[in-house]
Symmetry: none
Subunit: 75 residues, 5 copies
């Protein structure tokens, strides 16, 4: 067997890694905003908590989709 | 069988991963702005909620388009 | 059969993915600015709405152009 | 044995490296927000500490998932 | 042995390089926040120092994991 380069692995790993960049930053931005908002207006903590979890979940979902995507296209 | 590199998978995974970077950050920015705006002016929560969901959906759509794009070009 | 690498797919997917990074962030920044501006000066919502949609559309267009570009260059 | 390039290794290393970009920035943003919020409103430190650790853990998790992903797709 | 390209090395180096991007930025954000917070409220320096070191260490760890990752997947 001729082997051109001794590289191994599936590009699905690269796909997930790329998909995790945005959510990794986005989740940090959402919680940073919630921390600063809660510190300034403690009485708003209950009002904005729903949206902190909503924003976190919607951003994180993009990375989790990236986890299953290689199974869709073929690993 | 000659194999040049033992890499497997579809580059569609890389495509989705790249397409998810921007929306992952963008969604976080939109919800962070809504959290901070709601904490400062709670009475504006109803007025800006429409635009928070609009901005989130329009940004997230770019990642979801990236999910179906490989089927268009061939996985 | 000579196989260079068991990779499949079109690099058009990578092209779209890269093209979606900027608009994904840009759309989020536009709507975040509109949400914060509307919360502080609710009376300005009508005046700036045109520009929010304009800024969103002009940024999103770059990703949509990235969607059709592979058909121009060949998928 | 014909060898095209003397590159070795698994692309899983590239995958982890990419997956660490976002959380590396996101974790920094979360703790920066907690530090600034605590410095301005020391009395809010207890209230926001939960969310600082929550935001840190949810962002960091994306990098740790990237560590195990190559075992799922094949290293 | 025929060698097509005179490239040598392991992609593990690329993996570590990518893994160092995020923490490099994140650690900077944490210390920048600590410097500005301490300059404004010098009396808060002792309270927030713990979290500055905590945030720095948790972000830096992601790059150090990237250093050992190639040994796990094969250099």
């Amino acid at each position: 067997m001729d082997v051109l380069a001794e590289l191994t692995g599936s590009v699905g790993s690269i796909g997930y890694g790329l998909a995790a960049i945005g959510p990794g930053i986005g989740v940090g931005i959402v919680w940073a905003a919630y921390i600063q908002a809660t510190a300034r207006q403690p009485e708003s903590a209950g009002l904005t908590r729903t949206y902190a979890f909503l924003g976190f979940a919607l951003s994180e979902a993009l990375a989790l989709i990236g986890f299953v995507v290689p199974f869709v296209y073929g690993t």
